[in-house]
Symmetry: C2
Subunit: 110 residues, 2 copies
């Protein structure tokens, strides 16, 4: 007798879904706040590179779920890198950074 | 004749390494800048939940590399959630957020 492997597959599917869609709220947050300077270039750079390798691995092993999940994750991770480039100008001094990302400052003193 | 599968394994190993260590520079950045308000709670929450499921999947399939990589990733993702709790007080009004996370403000006017 063999144990049914459907629950294990479902587990892997749910895990893959969660670690993929997790990036959506980060994209949404950056777009909404127009601020990304707390986001690490290196984190999303290394992560994107890792996802490229996972994609390559999926193509080598002809694993369609791995390929599809990593295409979506790569798209989202690269979107975050683009948003970081747009809204995370770290080279600017601190007070400018906010002014740069927020045209109106409702909390400013007269 | 079968093709050697070592390169494919090496690919998977490198991919897993990169998507795991990627979180280290994000932890470092938050600790260094004492700021995490651009980090999305939902991203790291969903991601951590996904990693718990991957860990469970690894235990079910007795895949030691999956277990080990996900223990490390979970530790780092939960660390980021703790740092977000410490340095990303979104409920505070904007000027307070910075003061809260930076005891001294070198750019303040007299």
């Amino acid at each position: 007798m063999t144990l049914p492997d459907v629950p294990t597959d479902a587990l892997g599917f749910a895990a893959g879904m969660l670690t993929t869609i997790a990036f959506v709220p980060q994209v949404y947050r950056i777009v909404k706040t127009r601020s990304a300077h707390d986001i690490s270039w290196l984190m999303f750079g290394l992560f994107s590179l890792g996802i490229v390798l996972w994609l390559w691995y999926g193509l080598r092993t002809s694993a369609l779920p791995v390929i599809l999940a990593n295409i979506v994750t790569l798209t989202l991770a690269v979107t975050i890198l683009c948003l970081k480039w747009r809204y995370g100008r770290d080279s600017l001094p601190h007070p400018w950074r906010r002014r740069w990302s927020r045209p109106a400052n409702p909390g400013s003193k007269p």
